[in-house]
Symmetry: C2
């Protein structure tokens, strides 16, 4: 069979399995998740051995140490995958949930009920744990999944998928499908199966996501990077502002919900900037400032126009003094990516205006942007953080992997 025939056959099998996994009871899905967890633990030795082959090949190819670390599976990491599946089993089942219900004057009883999306394609990079995580989330939400992992983790991913498929006695094996080819052409073939796959969720760097979106005939839920802002208002508790800035910038700078720009109202700048700058610099943060910032914090490097829209994903922070909340919001509209913003203020009117007018997936008042996360939101899981506006926006849990249908009960109503 050609690569195309292989990929299409895999997708067809997943599509054929979709009705059965959609109808599976919560108990059947949870049994499959727990069996998968147990099987991963039982086959830890095999998994670590298969992974060693991937790591060895990557090392021989001169791969960077950070990448090798992400690629590596240890017994503890296998256990973490198993724990992840057990946690998904413990979550409420979104399928069948009644979103709304109402009765029409003619007596029709209309219920809007959550149902699975169908077949979800997940295209991801090096971390092999995504194979188990994504399969688990799709399974629990009643979807069939077609996985396509990074070629560096090929042996590992194949074995994880085998383990989960073999363990899944209560659901159809083919509801968990993995593209078993390292050929990049396989992705392009996958992206053309719009009659077999309902949505593509890529997990990886911006370049991967843009390339997939460009080439896809299937709708793509993107999670592009985040240029997030924190704005310190004229009336703000500056001690609280310091705590939030430090957290939003330094607690984990390499993630999308860390801030890249700090905006400070002119009325607070003289009191706030020198102090926070000392703390940031002490924590290893490089500052890039507007002219006013540079004057208030001598020695700060001048920010270029490009700095304001750069996602550093690193210990770098651009700082700008603004004359008003309107100017802060205009900055956010112009340079931000619409993921997460925060205002620090003691003024309820300022908080109300900021939350009403700032159009980002998450808008925080007196809290760190780092809470933009499915677990922190209480979803119990996260398949990604959508930067789309359609279907799902912001952190995506199990519910965001569903759609709905209308179930209408009547007693012979006809249209006239």
């Amino acid at each position: 069979m050609s690569l195309e025939q292989d990929v299409v056959a895999l997708c067809r099998a997943a599509r054929a399995a979709a009705p059965a996994i959609a109808r599976a009871t919560t108990a059947e899905k949870n049994a499959a998740l727990l069996a998968g967890a147990a099987a991963l633990r039982a086959r830890t030795g095999e998994l670590v051995a298969a992974n060693a082959g991937d790591v060895e090949a990557a090392r021989a190819a001169g791969t960077a140490a950070a990448f090798l670390d992400r690629l590596t599976l240890t017994p503890a990491r296998v256990d973490a995958m198993a724990v992840g599946l057990e946690q998904i089993a413990a979550l409420p089942d979104p399928v069948g949930e009644e979103i709304a219900r109402w009765r029409r004057p003619n007596g029709l009883d209309i219920r809007q009920v959550r149902v699975p999306l169908g077949v979800i394609g997940i295209i991801y990079e090096s971390r092999p744990n995504v194979t188990a995580d994504a399969a688990g989330l799709c399974l629990k939400s009643g979807n069939a999944v077609v996985l396509r992992g990074g070629s560096e983790a090929f042996r590992t991913n194949c074995l994880i998928a085998d383990v989960l498929r073999d363990a899944a006695a209560t659901i159809p094996r083919d509801a968990i499908a993995l593209v078993r080819s390292t050929d990049r052409a396989a992705v392009q073939i996958l992206l053309k199966q719009d009659d077999l796959i309902d949505v593509i969720i890529p997990r990886g760097g911006e370049e991967l996501i843009r390339a997939i979106t460009e080439g896809s005939r299937i709708p793509v839920i993107q999670h592009l990077n985040g240029v997030c802002q924190l704005y310190v208002d004229a009336k703000a508790d500056l001690a609280l502002a310091e705590k939030l800035v430090m957290n939003a910038k330094t607690q984990r700078p390499g993630v999308c919900n860390a801030i890249e720009n700090l905006l400070v109202h002119r009325d607070a700048a003289a009191a706030f900037l020198p102090a926070i700058a000392r703390q940031l610099v002490a924590a290893g943060v490089e500052l890039r400032g507007c002219p006013e910032t540079v004057r208030l914090v001598p020695g700060t490097r001048s920010a270029t126009e490009a700095d304001w829209s750069t996602e550093y994903l690193d210990l770098v922070l651009a700082v700008r003094v603004v004359g008003s909340i309107a100017e802060a919001m205009e900055f956010i509209r112009r340079y931000g990516s619409g993921l997460a913003e925060a205002i620090v203020t003691t003024d309820p009117a300022a908080a109300d205006r900021f939350t009403a007018e700032v159009d980002s997936a998450a808008v925080f008042v007196n809290a760190s942007t780092r809470f933009t996360d499915g677990f922190e939101f209480g979803f119990g899981a996260e398949i990604g953080i959508s930067t789309n506006r359609l279907h799902a926006r912001g952190p995506m849990g199990l519910r965001e992997l569903t759609t709905y249908k209308y179930v209408v009960h009547g007693s012979g109503q006809i249209r006239t």
Copy 2:
């Protein structure tokens, strides 16, 4: 300016107007809708005269009478457009609605709040009333709109857009944008503006929608045609079944939610089929049957394999006898388009199984599929009936033209 520059400038202006229309109060939006309605009425003479130019040109080009009728604007039809805008003004504003709210153990207060999608592109065919309807729905839901109507209605559409833009004193004019070119290339340019337009909703025939989806870099909400089924169960009130079949097939056969296939359980076939066939034939319906149907209703033409998946949009009905509810559902999965299905039964277990397992946008028990409609669902308006699974499924009202954001209030929470 080139056509491309024109279209891009128009989209940029709509994008620039989007934040203001998104923030507009309900009163401001309603004032714009009512002013638009009044202006349409006041300028009826001008509108009818402009339309006469379109109709004359279309007639000279040899256009079919049915098309000319759809294209024609009379004073009564201008009034109907105005009434439509007044009805939209009377609907509840979806923007700002709280979808959900919860508190996290760390004290974070999370609200999920409805916000406009942003900029909506509407591409439509001959009926000029869509210009006012779509503009009104987008405006009320806080969205800017870029309209592109059929070239045959060009003069009419331009004037309707002018009237609405001129009347819109309380919202930015550019929130209502119309592509003023009959060049087909304008559509292709529009479909590339994925940084300026958030979603495309095409309104028209299947061919138009497929071509747009194929060529678009912007997400498209499709409303493709419907191959809908009605299934008469073994245990059914046959008088009620007759009433529903007649309504679902003959009340308005040319629409997507009329049925194309009638499925009858074998246990009910002998009692039901001859009687319903007489009624259908008397109503001018041509039947195409499976061998069993042909035996029970002599003289019925045999259905071909292609018949089962054909959307006739006409007084034609394919009829098939099935041995079980499972066989009926398998037929629906195989030949249906996933829009609307109905079961007629007195057996609650059969109704439960059908509504649980049939995965169509709307599933009816003892009611006509013709209720698959935004007005009939009580939405008060309808921009279309989505056949997508993502974002919006089935009838789309104002809520389906929105997305959401999370507004999170804290008291200094940081992530650790």
